[in-house]
Amino acid sequence: MQQKNEIKLERQNDTILLHIHGDITAHSEPFINEAYKELNDQGTVQKILIQFEEEAYINSGGIAVLIQIIAQTHKNNQQIGITGLSDHFKKIFRMVGTTKFTNTYNRLEDALESMSQDK
């Protein structure tokens, strides 16, 4: 049985954080899309940081969902970053090419600091 992803939104200055719990698969699409819609309903958002909790497992379907979100942020001129990935998934993201369109960070603090400096 597929588990629902619990996603919490949090504002940190000009960045909206998406805390995502659970493994990311094709079944995660409605939950992540809903969170992205909710985030945009809060007004103009320029910076989005996705934080994966508990070193989530992300399969090929989950990568497809993330590519979909990255493409939408690109279209909406939003900056997007990712943190909370294990070394295994950082390597996969590099190989798949998603790191061309989004930065990945080792620590949440590093991500927030780096993104706050970008205008």
Binding site: I67, Q68, Q72, I92, V96
Partner: protein, 154 residues
């Protein structure tokens, strides 16, 4: 760990499960160890007792795309060993030190030849499992199409 917790052996009688348990061999594998490679001849099916095993597919010979991680006790993989052409469709890598039950195809085939109801039940479980995988793959394909069509809108 009872084999009945595995999707492959769901609904089998106690005596059928006992016969399968008798041919299953417990093995231990270490984190990072490969169990089988995509395209290799498939002759054994595995059931996870503890630990975690990842299933991957190789893309253009460049990198491995993650398909699934099996963490639950009774998680079963390597079912290509039970369906012609008996070639593993994915690569399997141990994600944590793990204990597995290994069942040889020839042993399971012998049991199903002696008990056709057992063979029918196992094949039904395989069909259900593969239909689920097909549904998930279709869902993944839809996501890719949506991304592609949205990008063409701009």
């Amino acid at each position: 760990m009872p084999l009945s917790s595995s999707f492959l052996f769901k609904g089998l009688s106690e005596s059928q499960l006992q016969r399968i348990t008798a041919v299953a061999k417990e093995i231990r594998i270490q984190k990072g160890q490969w169990l089988f490679q995509e395209g290799n001849a498939a002759d054994r099916v595995y059931v996870l007792k503890d630990g975690a095993v990842e299933l991957l597919t190789r893309v253009n010979g460049e990198y491995e795309l993650p398909i699934k991680i099996i963490r639950s006790k009774g998680g079963c993989f390597g079912i290509s060993a039970l369906v012609p052409p008996y070639q593993y469709s994915l690569t399997s890598k141990c994600a944590e030190d793990s204990t597995l039950l290994e069942i040889q195809r020839r042993d399971l085939q012998k049991l199903t030849q002696e008990d056709s109801a057992l063979g029918c039940a196992i094949m039904t479980s395989i069909a259900q499992h593969l239909l689920g995988r097909l549904k998930e793959t279709r869902q993944e394909l839809k996501i890719h199409f949506k991304t592609l069509f949205r990008s063409m809108d701009t």
